[in-house]
């Protein structure tokens, strides 16, 4: 197997995630796109860990998974609060801090 196969798949997933973050208006869908981005990062970490025959890639991927879980928890709590206050999770309407 080639190293680049994994890295290119990671790049494609990352760009799909970036598109999702930019094009979506629903708060939950934006969080899902962020999960895609974090998984692309994990694929790269694991690929390089296997390439160098080193478990460090796995350990960093585990840290990323942990931080992603914390991020989803906080993110969904914020979306829930947004919905409770405004009856909508359309991110275009959240412009309170717009100058």
């Amino acid at each position: 197997m080639l190293l680049n196969e994994m890295l290119l798949l990671g790049a494609v997933l990352f760009c799909i995630g970036v598109y999702g973050v930019l094009a979506r208006r629903n708060g939950v869908l934006v969080l899902m796109a962020i999960e895609l981005i974090l998984n692309a990062v994990n694929i790269n970490l694991i690929a390089f860990g296997a390439f160098h025959d080193n478990v460090m890639g796995q350990i960093f991927a585990l840290f990323v998974i942990t931080v992603a879980a914390a991020e989803v928890g906080i993110g969904l709590a914020i979306v829930l609060l947004l919905y409770r206050n405004r009856r909508s999770i359309d991110l275009d309407q959240v412009d309170l801090m717009k100058g």
């Binding site: 994994m6 798949l9 760009c15 999702g20 979506r24 979306v79």
Partner: protein, 165 residues
């Protein structure tokens, strides 16, 4: 060797197709279910290159916990299940352009630098991971556990319904 390539090709094709559906489908629940396919594909890739512990953690944490959290989030924030809410921006062109430019730059850099490097997947056992994690990386490990606790308490405080008065 051939079997590895074929397995990778099938997993990668399914993952990319599902990931595209995650960011394009208009049904939020379908997006969450397509995300399950992508996450399962990532776990399969981890197992394919011999990262067994991370692969199983991926299934447990992402498919087991994060997706359930997402489904709860969808359930709690949808006022009307039949209502066809707007999920995307009207003008998608800037987002498509940004993603494609980013992809072109990344593919160029990767092909330029990492072309023709072989990836020999030796299994990395759970024992190796735990030895490294609990010796050299014990401080980050403890820090990340405190972070998780803080995030848990923070999520409860943010999402808690305010008592009247």
């Amino acid at each position: 060797m051939i079997a590895e390539h074929v397995a990778f090709g099938i997993i990668a094709a399914v993952m990319v197709a599902s990931a595209l559906r995650v960011v394009t489908t208009r049904d939020i629940v379908h997006a969450a279910l397509y995300l399950v396919i992508v996450l399962a594909g990532v776990a399969a890739l981890f197992l394919l290159v011999g990262a067994e512990f991370t692969g199983i953690t991926q299934v447990l944490i992402y498919i087991g916990a994060v997706i359930v959290l997402f489904l709860f989030g969808i359930m709690l924030t949808r006022s009307d299940f039949d209502q066809d809410e707007e999920t995307d921006h009207k003008r998608k062109f800037p987002a498509i352009l940004t993603a494609l430019l980013l992809l072109a730059v990344m593919i160029g850099a990767l092909v330029d630098r990492f072309d023709d490097l072989k990836l020999d997947a030796n299994p990395q056992t759970t024992a190796q991971v735990s030895d490294e994690l609990f010796s050299q990386y014990i401080v980050p490990f403890e820090a990340v556990s405190v972070l998780l606790l803080a995030a848990l308490i923070g999520a409860i405080v943010i999402a808690r319904r305010e008592e009247g008065g």
